[in-house]
Amino acid sequence: MSILETQALTRRFGEAVAVDALTISVEAGEMFGLLGPNGAGKTTAIKMLTTLLPPTSGNARVAGFDIVHHAADVRRVIGYVPQMLSADGSLTGYENLLIFAKLYDIPGAERESRVRNALAFMGLVDAADKLVRTYSGGMIRRLETAQSFLHRPRVLFLDEPTLGLDPLARKAVWEHIEQLRASYGTTIFLTTHLMEEADSLCNRVAIMHRGKVAAIGSPAELKAQVGGEATTLDDVFIHYAGSTLDSGGGYRETSRARRTARRLG
């Protein structure tokens, strides 16, 4: 059963087409990766699927709800970790979770234990009462993942979850996400441009280029399509998207990515 379906989902900004007739379908319980160079339209696609940005045309259903007409229902069943570091630095880790537990209507009696469990799950118990601005980048990412997961979403959207993290922190974040999926069967929809990660973690990936899906399938399938024994997902990526260097990433996007990287230290 597909839990996420898009049909010719399109978003224009003036003349530019950020996402061009995106049609994909994701099965429940899958870890699905949306890959592509900067400016390929990955973030725009995620913003539409999380109801932050209305599509120009086409439609999409998440957990059976139309993202335009039943946006409020969609919001109740999804979790979302934006590309930027979105935990509030001027609050403690515990408070960051508490506020979201309240916003997601987790009943008062359950709230405390839910928050404590989430902290334990993400290995943040000792840091719970420290201000988040003192956290390392990896800790912030784990806190955000905990935040997005308090209400047990059916689909979890992660936009470049390991952008700017060092290899150790990255590994920890991925282990936690993998654990979440194993424990709760959550469907995970993520964007990345780290091919190695997509290769080892995603069941299926779609490679986006200039707003369109250039290739879709399991990492093994894609590698087989491009050919050669020693083919890596990097080769696949370059094959479908890498021919041009000028393709992507406006000033704003690059500066945002840099800022995120800087905050991650």
Binding site: T51, L53, R75, I78, I99
Partner: protein, 284 residues
Amino acid sequence: MRLQEQDAPRGGWASLALSRGVAKAMAAIAAFVEKTLVIAELEARKLRHDPTELLTRAVQPVLWLLVFGQVFTRIRAIPTGNLRYIDFMAPGILAQSVLFISIFYGIAIIWERDLGIVHKFLASPTPRAALVLGKALSAGVRSLAQGLVIYVVAVLLDVRMNWNPLALVGVFVVVVLGAAFFSTLSLIIACLVKTRERFMGIGQLLTMPLFFASNAIYPISIMPGWLQVISRANPLTYEVDALRALMLAGGTSTYRVGWDVLILLAATAILVIVGGRLYPTVVW
């Protein structure tokens, strides 16, 4: 929205549907209030972690009262009826500090947008207007802290204050309303201009006209006609008018406190609705 009509017995369907509709509306309102308070709580917790901002913000109104107020009280240049000038201006300066705190609130919205915080709140099932009103109330909390400082200074300057508990509650309400109005106005501007640089420009541009085209530090009656018209359309005027009546012993209002509050309430409600519609566009 599904009403689950199939459960309803045939007779009295209409009344049952009606009572369900009412129950549903009540639940929606309760949820709205609850979420608004959660957002306000979030802001209050931030303040508790770092209250220094409140002190640095208090410098400006204190200077106005100490310097401007003292000088103009001495020269008696401004006709303020039976009030001394320092008494007349104290409520005006409270309103001014509420305005100054609130009108730059939008910069925080843009900042939070850049950090991705806004994205996460918008992807949650929180009603948009609750996000906006919660922020507005938190501007009220900050403003109340200013109010406290101004009360202390006013007492030290021998301003004759009204200590009637009901009047104090009134001041509380008017300060929160004023802050809610101007912070929501600021949020709307932030959603329209979208960048910090442009916002700062417009914020600077707005503050002084809003302040000087009001009854904050001189009565409207001494203004030229065209300015009187503008001042009467300025919500700050009604905030000051209500504060002048409530804060001072023997204070009077020009437009009646009830009208002042009603005007502020209506203006704020309209802005919160507009703000709730515009807020999601800040992440586009």
